[in-house]
């Protein structure tokens, strides 16, 4: 089964963020190396008095080639998040958004109440909502029920690169979901992305793990393979774990 988000099919199960790169050129190269078809962007005030020939991120990432996923990053209330989504729709002429409503600047953990309130209203306004959330199973179920097109729980806090700290909760969310579950936040390196996929996640969304590595283009390629490996392993199903050693060759093949 391919990955389908909001009725659109994706070959790649990796979604990357566009933040923290040295420049737009590096962002573009990393995106190409990652094989991702979807990339998140944030919406911010323009710099005043700049050279009008100065390139914009959207000059480097062609919306006709890549699915641009505008993110409500930096919003701490449903009201602000909805405002950002309306701006995004005007800018990109698209209803797909990543909803992120944070609880506080220290932890950057999602504000569950505001996230749910914003999700409900955005769906009513005709948006297709991919929602960043905690690993709370009940909330994930509720976000699907109100009409989100994807639920995206964290693996560990944003930008920490701590890897997957909540395998059991993620598994429970996956077990109860009928829409794509995408791990968003916390991935630190390629093996973390593989583990997320082996757990049964439909895709992985990451940013810092690539952008903050010493070689973002190489890490982007590593992530591409990591996600493919994890998905294949998930489909193939791992062997049973045994407490005792079992020889790889049959007893009858032994010389003595």
């Amino acid at each position: 089964m391919p990955l389908i988000i909001d009725k659109k099919t994706y070959k790649s199960r990796l979604i990357i963020g566009s933040g923290k790169y040295k420049n737009f050129e590096e962002t573009k190269k990393a995106l190409e190396a990652s094989g991702a078809e979807m990339i998140t962007v944030a919406l911010k005030r323009t710099n005043l008095g700049q050279n009008d020939k100065q390139k914009n991120l959207l000059d480097y990432i062609d919306p006709n080639t890549y699915k641009i996923l505008p993110n409500t990053a930096g919003c701490f209330s449903s009201e602000d998040a909805i405002r950002v989504c309306l701006i995004a729709r005007e800018l990109l002429n698209d209803n797909l958004v990543k909803l992120e409503v944070l609880a506080d600047k220290e932890t950057l953990l999602p504000n569950e109440e505001e996230t749910l309130a914003a999700a409900k209203e955005l769906v009513q306004l005709g948006f297709s909502v991919m929602v960043y959330t905690t690993d709370n199973v009940e909330l994930a179920i509720e976000l699907e029920r109100v009409g989100c097109v994807s639920v995206m729980p964290l693996a560990s806090p944003i930008g920490t690169g701590q890897g997957i700290k909540n395998s059991n909760n993620l598994k429970n969310i996956i077990k109860n979901a009928n829409i794509p579950i995408i791990v968003d936040a916390g991935i630190g390196t390629a093996s973390d992305a593989t583990i997320a996929m082996e757990l049964g996640c439909d895709a992985v969304l990451l940013n810092s793990a690539i952008a903050m590595s010493d070689n973002p283009v190489q890490m982007a390629e590593a992530m591409k393979h990591a996600v493919i490996a994890g998905r294949k392993a998930f489909n193939a199903k791992r062997m049973k774990i045994s407490n005792i050693a079992i020889p790889s060759s049959k007893k009858t093949d032994a010389l003595s």
Binding site: G17, S18, G19, K20, Y21, T27, T40, V41, A42, L43, K44, R45, T46, L48, G49, Q50, N51, D52, N56, L57, L58, D59, I68, P70, N71, A73, R83, L86, I87, E90, L91, L92, I158, G159, A185, L205, L206, N207, S208
Partner: protein
């Protein structure tokens, strides 16, 4: 008169339009959204709209983000 442009005080003539503000600040018309007092103003109206004292204008674009 004064307006608040992207959070900063900005002095304009009375009949200034959004288009004029963009030109004065070297901002191209591509890839931006303009809000006046938190209401999105469609591009069609950028040369028609004029402002009141202390109006809040936000010019927003896509930037890198996770």
């Amino acid at each position: 008169m004064n307006i608040i442009l992207n959070g900063e005080k900005f002095s304009i003539d009375k009949k200034t339009s959004i288009k004029d503000i963009l030109i004065q600040n070297n901002i191209g018309e591509k890839n931006i959204v303009v809000e006046v007092n938190k209401e999105i103003i469609s591009k069609t109206f950028w040369d028609q709209i004029t402002f009141e004292e202390n109006d809040q204008i936000e010019i927003i674009t896509a930037v890198g983000g996770g």
